[in-house]
């Protein structure tokens, strides 16, 4: 899937990984068009750093694990920290195309190799005390989308009340219809609030604080 020069580039990007990161991949054998490619993708990435630990779960045969991580559809990837604790970070659909950047960023940040967030902003993130779900709808050919996905995932990483999903509209077109997605990235917070465009952490937080 990746040629050697891309593999080397990804190895270099993953070099700063601090703690181990658990990648949980939910798939099934039949009737999942994108599962084969997604599986190949995560397996390829997993081989590029000794700090990554991939476990594959069959969605149908492992309903408990899927339920524990609140997995609603496949293919799905959940990220857990070195102790196996859920980060709330989800990728629905293969994080290929431009989303490889948000995937690598999620791995780095979960491992502890994080960009610093100003204290005042961090205090506001930590203060969120109700359940929040952020859905970021993307297409793999959208160069602006990873920015929104990375921001949503960072919020999830910093506060266990927040869960954040990347959703590829190409893989889940019915969700595109349901959430009226006619431009990406589109951000839907707790099913009711919408932001269109690549919004930073501050803007998502402003919506969350008014929930």
């Amino acid at each position: 899937m990746f040629d050697d020069s891309v593999k080397n580039q990804i190895r270099t990007i993953l070099n700063p990984l601090k703690e181990r990161v658990n990648i949980l991949y939910f798939t099934q054998e039949f009737e999942c068009a994108m599962c084969r490619d997604t599986g190949e993708f995560v397996r390829n990435i997993n081989e590029l750093s000794p700090k990554l630990n991939l476990t594959e779960f069959d969605y149908l045969k492992n309903p408990d694990k899927a339920e524990e991580f609140g997995i609603e559809r496949i293919p799905a990837i959940a990220i857990a920290d070195s102790g196996g604790k859920d980060t709330g970070i989800r990728f629905y659909g293969p994080p290929a195309g431009y989303e490889v950047n948000s995937f690598l960023s999620a791995l780095l940040e979960t491992s502890g190799a994080k960009q610093e967030i100003p204290v005042a902003l961090m205090n506001r993130i930590k203060a969120v005390n109700k359940p929040v779900n952020i859905k970021v709808f993307i297409s793999l050919s959208c160069p602006y989308c990873p920015e929104a996905v990375i921001a949503a995932h960072r919020l999830a990483l910093e506060n266990t009340n927040i869960k954040a999903d990347m959703i590829d509209v190409g893989v889940f077109p019915h969700l595109g219809v349901k959430y009226n997605v006619s431009g990406v990235p589109k951000i839907v917070i707790n099913e009711t609030r919408e932001l269109v465009g690549a919004h930073p952490i501050e803007n998502m937080l402003e919506v969350i604080e008014k929930l």
Binding site: Q9, G97, C142, V169, N180, G183, V196
Partner: protein, 327 residues
């Protein structure tokens, strides 16, 4: 399955200092495309006290998939070229701020530039290299229906219009490229252009002609975009027959070129009819100590290599100004 790795976003903390509100810089460079970044390299090598503020490194280059006409590279990805430009600037430990736009320049011997993050920068000279941004149609319905069917990034939003009917406004290179991308996905693509022939390069026009689901409306213009919650139809005018008609469709992709980012200059510089900054052969504007380079200027050819060359000229010109004219 393709991947589009953006290596520059993973580069470890680059080597720069924050901009000081107390310093008087020799020059402030506004903009981080090829013109601004090249100017920064030249200024730093000349030992000028330099500040660089930019919205996003690379500018349009960062949004370009493949570049095949920059000397030294038969082929390079826009992200990679941006990374190389940026690395070359960062080796100097420049005073730098990203994600920032200029809001106003207050003229004077020492100039003051107000930024949208609330701070101000003082400098003896300024190099404006703010580039261009996508142009809108400015017709009824457009603003209201942005991201509800009106789109400016066909590679981003194209996949959402699979099997649907879409229009592309614009028959230049970007319009025809968008029509090619969309013809692979959409059921029908209306290519609408006010001129009576396509302005795009022949090689692009030929590849578009291979698609049978493209309808050409040359000598036509979109007058209005209709729809309650989403785009439902457009009104199109036939410019030669002076008649208009409606087309029911789901999406409108606007690809009519770009406008210069000169909105913040209103009271400082006179602009030309295209809102570009007129410059002379030394990148000087009409205001003493204010220089400009790249796509934001009236230099006719908008190319990466031209912008980079103009950036170098503006830097050397600012250096001469500081040393021989500034008092």
């Amino acid at each position: 399955m393709n991947i589009n790795l953006n290596i520059s976003s993973f580069v470890n903390e680059p080597n720069f200092n924050s901009i000081s509100p107390d310093k008087i810089y020799d020059t402030l460079i506004i903009g981080g495309g090829p013109a601004g970044l090249t100017a920064a390299v030249y200024c730093m090598r000349k030992g000028m006290k330099t500040a660089l503020v930019l919205k996003k490194a690379g500018g349009q280059v960062a949004e370009t998939a493949s570049i095949e006409n920059y000397p030294g590279y038969s082929y390079i990805d826009g992200n990679d070229l941006t990374l190389k430009f940026r690395e070359q600037v960062m080796q100097f430990g420049i005073d730098y701020a990203e994600n920032v736009s200029a809001e106003r320049i207050i003229q004077g011997n020492v100039k003051k530039t107000l930024l949208d993050n609330g701070s101000a920068v003082s400098s003896k000279s300024i190099i404006i290299a703010t580039g261009k941004k996508w142009k809108k149609l400015n017709i009824p319905g457009e603003e209201r229906l942005i991201n509800r069917g009106v789109a400016y990034c066909s590679i981003c939003d194209g996949p959402l219009f699979a099997g649907k009917k879409v229009a592309v406004a614009g028959g230049g290179n970007s319009g025809v490229q968008a029509a090619i991308d969309l013809a692979k996905i959409a059921s029908v693509v209306y290519l609408i252009q006010h001129r009576d022939r396509l302005k795009a390069d022949e090689i692009l026009v030929n590849s578009l002609k291979k698609f049978s689901n493209v309808e050409y409306l040359l000598g036509h213009e979109i007058r209005e975009i209709h729809g309650e919650k989403e785009v439902e139809k457009i009104t199109v005018e036939n410019l030669s027959g002076n008649s208009s008609f409606e087309i029911p469709l789901n999406g409108v992709f606007v690809e009519i070129g770009m406008i210069p980012n000169t909105g913040f200059l209103n009271d400082v510089l006179k602009l030309n009819a295209f809102n570009e900054i007129p410059v002379d052969h030394l990148c000087r504007t009409e205001a003493a100590g204010v220089f400009a380079a790249g796509d934001v200027t009236d230099v006719r050819y908008k190319q990466i290599i031209v912008a980079a060359g103009e950036g170098a000229k503006a830097a050397l010109s600012a250096y001469d100004y500081i040393n021989f004219e500034f008092v």
